[in-house]
């Protein structure tokens, strides 16, 4: 019995709301449950490594990746190869230049971001001649309607790879982010540590996640979800474990709610926008609670 059949039976028996009779809802929810924890987990490292602006830039670079993919003949709704190729090149070249110049990192990211967006904007003119530009909105801001079983397979594969890497190299990545020189000399996580390789690996992982999350959250908003849940959890956590768990909870909760709420309330907004709006609201609420002095109880 397929998953869809199982859900249809559950709907018929009245155990699930009617909305689950549509396959795209199931697919979107599965995607949300996979992508939420993944973005949360990487988000904790993004915050410690201070790579928030970088991950935003990689997401925005996706605009150009999408345009390149369509111009090279990839399907407009799924330009995965070009998206990954561009995001990866963007991230690697940026990181390589960073290690070879004295330019402050935020300034460097700003230059690369501006270049990527300008290039994307220039290419969109040609893309508009080939496809309806509105199709791009789905790729840039996410749409639950377009998630397919093939997307879920891709997302599942990338999730497994990412979790294995986090499990194996999490401590090393964390300690290298905190004190790179110490990790170079003394190692981290009880092992010898190649800080440069870890840095490049992490950057690649962010590019990979951007591609994985493109259908549900949208390329442009992935960076936001790498940043907001971890930044929020950081405000209310007193140790690493609670920081990690709370980030995952906020991230997953926002992803699921961002898929379900617009449907339930019949608000026609992209899923990515809904997810990020929810995450931002949680952040603002936590800031407000802290201002009101309720933070001690939360932490």
């Amino acid at each position: 019995m397929s998953l869809q059949q199982l859900l249809a039976d559950a709907v018929a028996a009245g155990w699930l709301p009617e909305v689950f009779q549509y396959p795209f809802v199931t697919y979107a929810l599965i995607a949300a449950v996979m992508v939420g924890p993944l973005l949360g987990a990487l988000g904790t490292l993004v915050v410690v490594k201070r790579l928030a602006f970088f991950s935003e830039a990689v997401g925005h670079g996706a605009l150009t990746g999408v345009a390149v993919g369509i111009l090279l003949g990839e399907p407009a709704t799924q330009p995965v190869a070009a998206l990954f190729g561009f995001c990866m090149s963007f991230a690697l070249i940026l990181h390589w230049v960073k290690s070879r110049t004295q330019v402050p990192y935020d300034a460097l990211v700003g230059v690369f971001l501006a270049f990527a967006i300008a290039l994307g904007a220039a290419l969109l003119l040609y893309v508009a001649k080939k496809v309806n530009v509105h199709i791009l909105e789905n790729v840039l801001f996410g749409s639950i309607l377009t998630v397919t079983p093939a997307d879920l397979m891709l997302l599942g594969g990338i999730s497994v790879i990412s979790w294995v890497l986090i499990w194996r190299y999490g401590n090393q990545a964390l300690m290298s982010a905190l004190q790179p020189d110490l990790a170079r000399v003394q190692g981290a996580g009880g092992r010898k540590t190649n800080v440069t390789l870890l840095d490049y690996g992490f950057v690649l992982l962010i590019a990979l996640i951007t591609v994985a999350a493109v259908k549900i959250i949208g390329a442009v908003l992935v960076g936001a979800l790498l940043l907001i849940p971890a930044t929020t959890a950081r405000l209310i956590s007193s140790n690493l474990r609670s920081f990690f768990i709370r980030t995952l909870m906020i991230s997953t909760g926002c992803c699921v709610a961002g898929v379900v709420l617009p449907m339930a309330l019949e608000i026609p907004i992209p899923s990515g926008a809904a997810i990020v709006l929810l995450a931002s609201s949680v952040f603002l609420l936590v800031v407000l609670f802290r201002q009101l002095g309720w933070s001690q109880r939360l932490a």
């Binding site: 410690v48 986090i166 499990w167 194996r168 999490g170 401590n171 964390l174 300690m175 905190l178 004190q179 020189d181 110490l182 170079r184 000399v185 003394q186 190692g187 981290a188 996580g189 009880g190 092992r191 010898k192 190649n194 959890a233 950081r234 405000l235 956590s237 007193s238 140790n239 690493l240 474990r241 609670s242 920081f243 990690f244 768990i245």
Partner: protein, 294 residues
């Protein structure tokens, strides 16, 4: 007469057991573009001693230390000559055991100048040490054995009451002691310390000094940047001065200098730090090159 004698754990130098290596600088120099920070220098820093690098601000002492630790590209070579016991207490036919024991004893520590952590970062002293010294990923609960090891470690550096404190909320002295705890947990026997007492009050300085003296008594090799002549006079075994672009092999403060490369009854294993910040050494027994990235 050679001052070294082999023991199970290392070597004796004048009744003092040695675990750390000697450090050989071979035509070491450092340039930034056209500017040469210091001229080529060759010297040996003896094993199991407290060496202090002194000089004016900006003279290049910290850079010299970072070169020795393999953290800075440079010209020339640096060798760490680890003492390798022939009578190691292990079955010498078991090459693998011997190698593992050697690797275990060949740990290096680096204590940088006092640096602040972000005060809001939700990383506690316990989190920091566990993520540093054991592979179990940081969001999993530590095993009881690790907890016990951690408690012992923290009490060694006097931080047992601070295990749940965020690292960004520690005082300067506590932060430095946390770094010592991290290196102690790894069993380092070669220590590079970059003005570890800078910015600390007198009590904190005393605590750090006690740790350093204990390491020296344990036979570790310590190379430390320091600027206070009275401190150097009181505690250093050997002084290396960086003056006007020259590295000068200064006076031996605490007795006659011994050459680590001439160890009788021991094999000497070399580790070369080349300009690309890698360590490679020649295992004389196997006559094969091995390369380990720092």
């Amino acid at each position: 007469m050679n001052a070294y004698a082999s023991t199970d754990a290392g070597f004796m130098v004048e009744g003092h057991e040695v675990k750390g290596p000697s450090i050989e600088l071979d035509q070491l120099s450092l340039s930034f573009g056209e500017h040469q920070l210091f001229q080529p220098v060759s010297m040996t820093l003896a094993a199991g001693k407290l060496h202090m690098l002194t000089g004016a601000n900006g003279a290049g002492k910290s850079s010299l230390l970072k070169c020795m630790a393999g953290l800075m590209p440079h010209q020339g070579d640096i060798f760490w000559h680890w003492p390798v016991g022939l009578d190691s207490g292990l079955d010498s036919s078991s090459e693998r055991d011997l190698r593992e024991a050697q690797q275990e004893s060949q740990k290096v520590a680096y204590i940088p100048q006092l640096e602040a952590f972000d005060a809001t970062l939700p990383i506690t002293v316990e989190d920091y040490l566990l993520a540093s010294i054991q592979p179990k990923v940081f969001f999993r609960r530590p095993a009881d054995k690790e907890q016990q090891r951690l408690a012992l470690l923290l009490s060694t550096v006097g931080l047992d009451q601070k295990s749940q404190r965020k690292i960004g909320q520690l005082s300067g002295g506590e932060r430095q002691r946390l770094l010592f705890a991290r290196a102690l947990a790894q069993g380092a026997s070669l220590w590079f310390l970059d003005e570890p007492m800078n910015g600390l009050d007198q009590k904190a300085q005393q605590q750090i000094l006690q740790l350093i003296l204990q390491l020296k008594a344990d036979g570790c090799t310590l190379v430390m940047v320091h600027h206070d002549p009275a401190f150097v006079e009181a505690y250093a075994d050997h002084e290396v001065r960086v003056v006007d672009g020259h590295v000068i092999d200064g006076r031996v403060v605490g007795g006659p200098e011994v050459e680590g490369a001439e160890v009788e009854g021991a094999e000497v294993e070399g580790a070369v730090l080349d300009g690309r910040m890698t360590v490679s050494g020649v295992d004389k027994k196997a006559d094969q090159k091995k390369k380990v990235t720092l």
